[in-house]
């Protein structure tokens, strides 16, 4: 037990004469967020890593030591070395360079599929929550059904209709992100709607669009940010899985899942061909998930897994 000498027992009269000023620090939501967020070392590290990834996505192809299309038949399936940090694949292409270039694809797919999903979900959620009645039941029932399909199954179904390819993967992953955002936004819309000030604004004759934009939307922002970050990880993972199954990006695109898929055949002899692209997926998804966890704890501790 720590013996803390903190009980303020003033004995000296001069000390007593000066009552301490009462300090109440005013905290803006942003500084409050930063105060909580910076305490989470893991999330800070993950956040920095995500920033680094974004940088790589921008400049990756320029800093890569080799071109992703550069064949080198002299060194096929060579293990990691000074020349090829992650070794080479079955065509002698430098895996490190291909992983760098793949960063752009994975982040692009992750970001945009969640962006579209969040956009659609937010609109549907606000409509359902704000207007209620039969629109609400129809939207939420459809969301229930979309939920009834395991994410990747839904994506496979959509790809079965649209055909394989990276852009169709983005569409598929977007669609299965919709119900999640619709649900969150609907429930926060309902709770914001129930508060008095929206009632008051309504009674003052404010237009619905203004009401939604000015009052309801800001109330949902923090949950959207948290889920947005978390979904990016899931979406990258799903997109990579689809490419691995041969339904997404097609070789020779340096997409991580596709690289893994074509490297499978050499697992016995050259496991590094599979190892590094997989590691890239893992670390990237992990960073987004850790960042999402940190944002959740800092922005809205009420949100559960």
């Amino acid at each position: 037990m720590v013996q803390a000498n903190l009980a303020h027992q003033p004995k000296d009269k001069t000390e007593l004469a000066r009552p301490q000023p009462v300090q109440v620090k005013a905290r803006t939501p942003l500084s409050e967020f930063w105060r909580k967020f910076k305490k989470q070392k893991m999330a800070l590290v993950a956040g920095s890593f995500v920033l680094a990834l974004m940088l790589i996505a921008l400049v990756g192809p320029y800093i890569a030591p080799y071109s992703s299309k550069e064949f080198d038949y002299e060194s096929i399936l060579a293990g990691p070395s000074l020349h090829h940090w992650m070794g080479t694949d079955a065509y002698g292409r430098d895996i490190f360079s291909r992983v760098l270039e793949g960063t752009r694809i994975s982040l692009f797919v992750g970001l945009f599929s969640v962006l579209f999903g969040a956009l659609g979900g937010t609109i549907l959620g606000i409509i359902a929550g704000f207007y209620g009645k039969w629109i609400d039941s129809v939207i939420m029932r459809i969301c229930d059904v979309l939920f009834a399909f395991p994410g990747i199954l839904l994506a496979i179904g959509i790809i079965a209709i649209l055909g394989p390819g990276l852009s169709n993967v983005i569409i598929a992953v977007s669609i299965f992100s919709v119900p999640i955002f619709a649900r969150i936004v609907r429930s926060s819309t309902l709770s914001v709607k129930a508060t008095l000030y929206v009632e008051a604004t309504k009674s003052l004759g404010a237009k619905n669009s203004r009401l939604i934009w000015k009052h309801i939307f800001p109330g949902t922002v923090s949950s959207i940010i948290v889920y947005f970050t978390m979904r990016i990880g899931t979406s990258i993972l799903t997109a990579a899985s689809l490419s691995f199954l041969g339904l997404g990006a097609q070789p020779p695109t340096p997409e991580w899942g596709a690289m893994l898929s074509s490297g499978r055949d050499y697992l016995n002899t050259a496991p590094h061909v599979v190892f590094y692209p997989g590691m890239a997926i893992f670390v990237t998804v992990l960073a987004f998930n850790l960042l999402g966890d940190g944002l959740r704890d800092a922005l809205d501790p009420k949100i559960k897994d």
Binding site: I142, A148, F149, A160, S241
Partner: protein, 306 residues
């Protein structure tokens, strides 16, 4: 309790209807002539027309839907384009491997997930908690196909303990089920922790401690029993994740199950099989959810006694 049961049962009817409509419309959503799709690209115009008649594609949509549902209820799922055999036969032989794979994965997932979750919650902010939760986040972020390939490389290729794929003996189950269970275990661990931590703040936990109960008993008995109610619900939802995950895992391990059948059928554009599998997966998921809802009723005395 009986009322609760009936209510849940009735609740799945609208979902079943919407699901079946979606899956019915599936073939119609594909660009092109559905009759030609079903008949195959190399079919003659005559074949296409006979397929159109046979599938009643020339009738109004609502009549088509009605006969679609009737056929499904009678177990008539059409014929595979690839093998020309009835779809039901294709599915039958592949159902059990997938079923057992899911069950074993769930067993691992629940076992490890609960253990990690409870330890993390009761050792809050100690190293056990940090280790457990980092492991869980890692588990969620792990690409299952990569993990599977790495396990094959280590345990099958290098050590030779387990087969590299296929289904021959109980040994074949070990690696796929561990791989498939890892992600779900992570989700269960995280959920158990947060749910149990909420419960451990409750007044009755303090009552238990005030009684002089050992902390272990307080956590595992009084705490977990209450925390389990939401955990069971969430675990049921994870079955969906498992079904989805099995598609990838079966491809990695060359598993003779439904997931691999689906991937093969998508590549081959075998629409009758895809349609039937989608329906089957959705149905499975709905049934599991129903079971979970009923379990929830059995576990929660407040519902059991109403």
């Amino acid at each position: 309790m009986f009322q609760y049961f009936i209510k849940r049962l009735a609740g799945i009817i609208p979902i079943l209807m919407i699901v079946s409509i979606f899956i019915f419309l599936f073939v119609h959503m594909i660009p092109g002539d559905p009759a030609r799709l079903v008949a195959g690209q190399d079919a003659t115009q005559q074949d296409v027309e006979s397929v159109r008649k046979q599938l009643e594609l020339d009738k109004p949509l609502h009549q088509q839907y009605l006969s679609f549902v009737t056929n499904m209820i009678h177990g008539d799922f059409g014929h595979s384009l690839k093998t020309k055999r009835p779809v039901i036969e294709e599915i039958q032989s592949r159902f059990m491997p997938t079923f057992w794979l899911s069950v074993w994965s769930m067993v691992w997932a629940v076992l490890f997930g609960l253990l990690i979750g409870v330890v993390s919650a009761s050792k809050r902010n100690k190293w056990q908690d940090y280790a457990g939760m980092f492991g869980a986040v890692a588990g969620i972020s792990l690409p299952s196909f990569w993990m599977g390939l790495m396990l094959i490389q280590l345990f099958s290729v290098k050590l030779g303990w387990f087969p590299t794929g296929g289904l021959d003996s109980w040994k074949s189950y070990v690696l796929p089920s561990l791989t498939l269970g890892a992600g779900v275990a992570a989700v269960i661990a995280r959920f158990t922790r947060s749910s149990l931590m909420d419960i451990l703040k409750e007044d009755y936990i303090r009552t238990g401690r005030a009684k002089g109960l050992h902390e272990r008993k307080v956590v595992w008995d009084h705490g977990l029993k209450n925390a389990l109610i939401p955990v069971v619900t969430m675990t049921g939802l994870q079955f969906g994740f498992l079904l989805g995950g099995s598609i990838v895992i079966e491809t990695v391990f060359g598993w003779p199950g439904l997931g691999r059948l689906l991937v093969d059928s998508v590549s081959f554009r075998d629409y009758p099989v895809i349609q039937s599998l989608m329906l089957l997966f959705a149905l499975e998921f709905i049934i599991i959810n129903l079971i979970v809802d009923l379990l929830y009723g059995v576990m929660n005395p407040q519902i059991r006694y109403e």
